[in-house]
Structure formats: C-alpha cells, structure tokens
C-alpha cells in the first residue's frame, strides 16, 4: 500500500490529484487487472477457495460423497490428538524428515565438492551427479522396489560381500521407513547437488586466492570460506527439503502403501487414505489443515531468518 502510494504520489501536485491523473490511474489499474485476471481466477478456484473449504470441511462430518452434513466444531481436531492415526503419521513424517533431510544435504555437499574440482571432463561428472533431477518419484520407487526384493533384489546380495546379513528392507516395520528414506535421498541428491554447485560457483575466486596467499590448505579454505559462504544455501535447502519430505506421497504409495503396521503411514498418505478410501473427508481435512500450518510455519521461519540476514548484510 505504502509503496504504491509513493509511486503514484509522483504524479500528484500537492494534496489533490487532478481528475485526469486520477482517471489515468484508474485506467492503469484496470489494464493491470486484465493481465492478472487469468492467474487470479485460477488461483482463486484451485488454491485460495479450496484452502478455505478445507478449513470449513474440517469442522464438519460428511457423508461418503464428501458433502458436509453436520457441524462438529473442533471435534475433528480433538480426534486428531486423541486417536493414534494422526499422532502416528505425524511421528512418521518427522522421522522421515530426520532420516532424509540431513543425509541428502550431506551427501550432496560431497557430490558438489567433487563436481567443483577443476579437472578435465568434470562437466560429465556434474551431469551424472545431478541425473536424478530427471528421475520421477514413481520410477525411482519401482527401481528400489526391485533392489529391496527379499529373494531377487541385488542390494542384499551386494551387501553380503561386506558380510552384512540380509536386511528385511520393506517387509519389517523397523526398517521400512528407512528403506523408503534411502530411495528418497537418492532421488533428492540431484536437485541438492545442482543448487549447491550453483552456489559454490558463485563464491568469489578472490576469497580463495587471498586465502592461498595466507597459506591456507584445502581444509582451511573449506571450513572458513566454502561453508560460511554457503550458509544461506544450506538454510534454503533445509527448508525446501523439509517441505518436500512433509509432502512425500509417491514413494509410500509405490513401495509400502503405508505398511507394514502403519510404519510408513506419513501425513500425506494418511490424508489420502482417510478421504479416498475411508470417506472421512472431515478428518482428512483436519489433517490437511495441520499440513498447511506446518508448511506455513516453515516458510514464515524461512522468510523471517532470510530477512534478518539481508538486514545484517
């Protein structure tokens, strides 16, 4: 508001705008609106109104067709915290975040450091390290389904060379979420590596040169230049990967369908199951609202910290 006032303020003389200026201003507003209209209509129809309707739906009991029949206030939310379904899937999602986010960022940092070496043919390796950006979650999950297969899969076979006993990957409730996470980490490293590499290439060469004059070795340069210069990128990746982890669905659907014993029933899979199979639209909507609140908190946190950083810069 304040800023647009300031922009239009340049056209005004004193306190009163002449009618010509006002008319032109109104015309400009409607011209702009015309350009924005296609997006605004689509956003309203498929984003903003559905969000409000989700919140509305979460205060109702519905019939199996998803039509609200009885207002129940916050009863669905009480149910969220008193029944094991939501508490379990919340816990599963948090574990999934804990398994995937740090691992994929650390692995990607290693890949990006390798990809940032000055060697002949390095662009080929950069391409290889970022290859999973071209792989969909569905196909990656199918490949891991084979790798994890108890009788035919090659992963346990390869591990036997390291004297590791066969792992029950997807068939045991203690290992299933880890197995899903491993596939997810592989899927995620392409994107993380691309972003880290771009950030590394943005670090000014002069910093390294002056460090070299001061006699710094590789480890020194890594610790006191690379890592600090990448801090905002790490922060970005942590938030983006957390958001992605909270939204995970495809891997679960293909690999485990939420099992065994609900051990991989993460938040979005639970939402899907509650409304699509159980017809519990209100209960699923309450879970969707919780998902929205988590995402909102994460993004607000990101903007808050970033803004602070920009401020201190």
């Amino acid at each position: 508001m304040a800023v647009s006032e300031r922009i239009s303020g340049s056209h005004t003389v004193g306190r009163f705008k002449s009618t010509g200026v006002r008319q032109r201003e109104i015309k400009r507003f409607f011209t702009a609106l015309l350009y924005l209209l296609p997006s605004l209509i689509l956003f309203s129809t498929f984003t903003f109104i559905p969000l409000i309707r989700t919140i509305g739906l979460s205060t109702y009991l519905t019939n199996p067709l998803g039509i609200a029949v009885k207002f129940v206030g916050l009863a669905q939310y009480e149910k969220l915290f008193s029944t094991p379904v939501f508490v379990n899937s919340m816990q599963r999602s948090l574990l999934f975040v804990a398994y995937t986010v740090p691992t994929s960022i650390i692995v990607s940092l290693g890949l990006a450091l390798l990809g940032n070496l000055r060697l002949k043919g390095i662009s080929f390796f950069r391409m290889v390290f970022s290859v999973t950006i071209a792989v969909s979650a569905a196909t990656a999950s199918l490949i891991f389904k084979y790798l994890y297969h108890p009788a035919l899969g090659s992963l346990n076979y390869l591990l036997s060379f390291l004297n590791i006993d066969p792992v029950p990957w997807l068939t045991n409730e203690n290992t299933a979420l880890m197995a899903v996470s491993l596939g997810t980490v592989w899927l995620q490293i392409g994107l993380n590596t691309v972003i880290l590499l771009a950030a590394m290439q943005g670090i000014s060469e002069e910093l390294y040169e002056s460090a070299m004059i001061d006699g710094a070795n590789y480890w020194h340069k890594f610790r006191s230049i690379t890592i600090p210069m990448l801090s905002s990128t790490f922060f970005f990746l942590i938030v983006v990967d957390m958001l992605a982890a909270f939204q995970a669905f495809t891997q679960i659907h293909v690999l485990t369908s939420g099992g065994p014993l609900d051990s991989t029933n993460v938040l979005v899979f639970s939402i899907y199951r509650e409304f699509y199979f159980n017809g519990a639209y209100g209960f699923a909507a309450a879970q969707a609202v919780m998902l929205f609140l988590i995402m909102l908190a994460l993004t607000v946190f990101q903007f808050g910290v970033l803004e602070k950083k920009v401020f201190y810069d």
């Binding site: 647009s4 969000l51 998803g66 950006i133 389904k145 899969g153 972003i195």
Partner: protein, 277 residues
C-alpha cells in the same frame, strides 16, 4: 618435476574417487537398464545378474504389448504440454503487469501471488478433488491440466527477467501509440526467450512427473498418465521385474532426453529459487 608428479598423482586419485561415486549414483539407473534386458529365467535366479548377457528388446515389446504404455505416454505429454502452455501464458501476462505497469495495490497483489507458493497442493486436494468430480472433469485433460495452469513461481521468475528490460523502452513505445499488449508480444517476449525456455522445461518436467493428482482423478485405462500406469504394472502378478523395468526405462527416456538437451534451462529453473532475487 616433483611438483608435476604430485599433481598427476592427486588428479588420478580424484578421477578414481569421481568414478566410484559416479558408479554408486548411477547404480539404480543401471539396474533398471540391466534388468530390462534379462530374460525370465535370468531375472528369477540367485545370485542376481549384475550385467546383461545379451541385448534384447523382448521385454520392451512385451511391456508395450500388454499395457497401453504409448497411450499413457500420450496422456502425460498432452497434460504436460497443456500445463506448460497455460503457465507460459498466465505467467507472461501477470509478470508483464508487475514489471511494467504502475498500479494501485501492485505490491499487495504481488504478495498474493507469492502466497500461493506457501500453500501446499496436498492441503487443498480434497476440495479440488470434489470440485473436479462435480464438474465431471475426472478422466479428462482439462481436469488433469487446468488446476495447474497458473504459477506463482513462474510469474516471479519472468518478472525478475522482465525487470531487466529498460522501462524507458516501454514508455517510449507506448508514447508512440504502441498498445501495451503489442509491446508485450513484439518486444518483451522475444527478449525474454531464455526465461521462457527455463519456465517451459521446468513446468513440463514437474507435470510429467506428477503422481498424486492423476492417481485421484483418473481411473479410466485410456486416461491414465504414464507414472500411474507404470506403477500399476507392478501390482499385476503376470508382470515380472524385467517387464516392469523395461517400462521404467521407457518412461524415463523422455525426461532423460530433456535433461541432456535442455540441461542449462532446467538447471536455471531449479536454481532460480535458491538465488537471491
């Protein structure tokens, strides 16, 4: 001399490390290709075969014959193309207004566009599913594509690019009686080709890899997208892993081609969010 030797040694060590890491990263993809060439008895034996003994497209022929993969592929490409074109149009128009027109509430409206980035699709999926059902848009291309045709990210990306075009150019053109829409078509769009390419590749790939939404709103064999179709292959007992992996390679092929030939645009799209704008 000593210095030179040391340099050769270190770069040899680096190459070995790079090689080993590359093999590990590529191992799942290699697995899919390898399995897709094995015959039925080979894929069922233990220990598993890590290299194919012969080159045969029999599993590909079988996958294509027994599941309508080509139809699935057509559906996915059609959906992705529609979303891509839709996003290009809506984002261009919106970004143009944000970059070139001074209007009241511009910042508020821009914030509304950015706010859409904070709302996860999964949080709005129930009302959207009910809406599509009510419109009888399930199993249709409009149901698959129209909900995704506006993009906060794309608008932001294009706006950043448009802002680099001197505003005087716009003012001069308008002064000369050029309509603002013609200015967009004849001046801005040709200049913005790299940014448009980035958005196009990015939105195509995102849509092609979609899973949850097509799973919800398509159940007709002829309208399934390729990601869903391929995932359903494994549920059917009659398909062995070699056929499924042939299908996987088939599905991956278009995105790999996109990855290799539009690498620069793709990477620019993916890193756009990470770089301070």
């Amino acid at each position: 001399m000593d210095y030179k030797l040391k340099r050769i040694l270190t770069s040899t060590v680096f190459y070995i490390v790079l090689m080993v890491v590359a093999v590990i990263v590529l191992f799942p993809i290699w697995t899919a290709i390898n399995i897709s060439f094995l015959d039925d008895s080979q894929v069922a034996q233990y220990p598993p075969q890590l290299f194919p003994t012969h080159f045969s497209l029999a599993n590909y022929a079988r996958a294509l014959e027994q599941a309508p993969l080509l139809r699935y592929l057509f559906n996915s490409v059609a959906q992705s193309t529609l979303v891509m074109l839709g996003q290009l149009v809506t984002a261009c128009l919106a970004a143009y207004a944000f970059a070139f027109i001074d209007f009241k509430w511009r910042n508020v409206l821009f914030l509304i566009f950015l706010a859409t980035l904070m709302i996860p699709w999964e949080a709005t999926i129930i009302p959207n599913y009910l809406l599509i059902k009510k419109l009888k848009w399930d199993n249709t291309f409009q149901g698959l594509a129209i909900p995704f045709m506006a993009t906060g990210f794309g608008t932001f990306l294009l706006r950043q690019f448009f802002l680099k075009i001197p505003k005087e150019l716009h003012d001069a053109a308008v002064m000369d009686g050029c309509s603002s829409f013609r200015f967009l078509l004849t001046i801005v769009l040709p200049l913005a080709r790299p940014a448009l390419g980035t958005l196009a590749v990015y939105s195509f790939l995102q849509t092609y890899n979609q899973y949850l939404w097509p799973l919800l709103i398509t159940n007709d064999q002829t309208m399934r997208t390729v990601q869903i179709g391929i995932a359903l292959l494994q549920d059917e007992e009659r398909f062995m892993f070699n056929t499924v992996m042939a299908g996987v390679v088939f599905v991956l092929l278009p995105t790999f081609i996109l990855f290799i030939f539009s690498n620069r645009q793709l990477i620019r799209g993916l890193t756009a969010g990470a770089v301070k704008g």
